[in-house]
Subunit: 238 residues, 2 copies
């Protein structure tokens, strides 16, 4: 064996996005414990010997939230040879996996979650939402992964507009959708024109319900109809 070739550990890490009531993108982070110190990180795991990476990511998401089938998308393999060379990270991996780990490459996933959904982790004692621009310094290359995930989630929504509804409540106003879309697309869109366009789509179904207790004209609630969307699968928003 040419010893230059490497046998390595492989993990998956998941960046789960949520959209909060202050119109900010948030990410789910968990706590790791090291020498009495607590530190937050992305949820992740080594893969099992008989497990595909997609299955490992699905497992991590389930252990994280208690939700059975979350939408997910692999977006990049991070394999910098130095990505797990920090002393604390090596120490933590030794504790977590009861073994000295020389090198670890990770496959990063995106996922989306309604921020009001109850989080019922079977693995982590502490799971919290963090607004993306308030994420502190994280172990490994997790900050890098998050930065790149932001670019990817935008591309994902450009490619398949329907996944945006994973971030909204089942019933939502067009203003909510507008604010989410604006947070993701970065370019200014006129809300009136947005309203007209969105409400013209057949898969955006108006409900009989309207907002209450607002100090202005109440907005109508809408729901997303995935079946109609799939039938027409047009390009929607350019």
């Amino acid at each position: 064996m040419n010893s230059n070739f490497i046998h390595t550990y492989v993990s998956v890490d998941c960046v789960v996005f949520g959209f909060d009531h202050e119109n900010r993108l948030n990410i789910l982070l968990v706590e790791r414990h090291l020498d009495e110190k607590r530190q937050i990180k992305l949820p992740g795991s080594l893969i099992f010997s008989d497990e595909d990476v997609d299955d490992a990511a699905q497992r991590v998401l389930h252990e994280l939230t208690g939700i059975k089938k979350m939408i997910l998308k692999q977006f990049k393999c991070f394999a910098d040879p130095m990505r797990a060379n920090n002393e604390n990270d090596i120490k933590w991996m030794g504790m977590e996996y009861k073994h000295h780990i020389d090198r670890i490459i990770t496959v990063a996933y995106l996922s989306l979650c309604k921020i009001d959904h109850k989080i019922n982790s079977t693995k982590y004692s502490t799971v919290d939402w963090f607004p993306v621009d308030e994420v502190p310094s994280l172990p490994f290359d997790h900050n890098k992964i998050i930065n790149e995930s932001l670019v990817e989630v935008r591309k994902w929504i450009e490619l398949d507009f329907s996944i945006i509804f994973e971030l909204l409540p089942k019933k939502f106003t067009i203003r909510q959708l507008y604010q989410l879309y604006s947070a993701l697309s970065e370019k200014y869109i006129d809300i009136k024109n947005f309203h007209k366009k969105i409400s013209s789509f057949s898969y955006i179904v108006p409900l009989d319900e309207i907002e209450t207790n607002v100090s202005h004209r109440a907005a109508r609630y809408y729901k997303f109809d995935a079946k109609i969307y799939k039938k027409n699968n047009t390009k929607l928003i350019k």
Copy 2:
């Protein structure tokens, strides 16, 4: 150590696209030798102990073509636990890497090459172009990788139109660009309107040269100006 976690080998595999004179997408495949038999496969390699996957892919591309800096894009990690369980594949890996390899995951890359560029492989004795719909059955999950790469290369060009010029000669006619674009986009585009639109772009620069020996009005050659493209980076073709 929880022995369910796995230590595995990691490789990169590269799908290099070319566009031939019959308007077909082609892929570069290499030969592997096993028991006097020859079989073709995607070019690839295990990664070195101090090597990032992007660097490994760059190395594979260089060993494959002799070209220094080829454009490349990571597109997916393939990690099905059964992807290297075929007897012949296990045998071949034993010969190639002088070691029994229990499991191998691979990170797949896209690359683009002008099909007339001279191929000067320092590693493979046989390197050939195959039209995508004439690719035979390949080892591992290489057919699957190629199928998914086709979807990805289309997305890539939608996202960054400028990389399409990696597949064309330095000077090209608008018909050539049209045929390549048509082969990639699958939906019908009117060639006259395409011509008008393309020739209106400032980064498509007309040359003084025109075709010779054609039995119709000779078409003008154009070149792509990357500097002008970068300055204006508009969305070009929707």
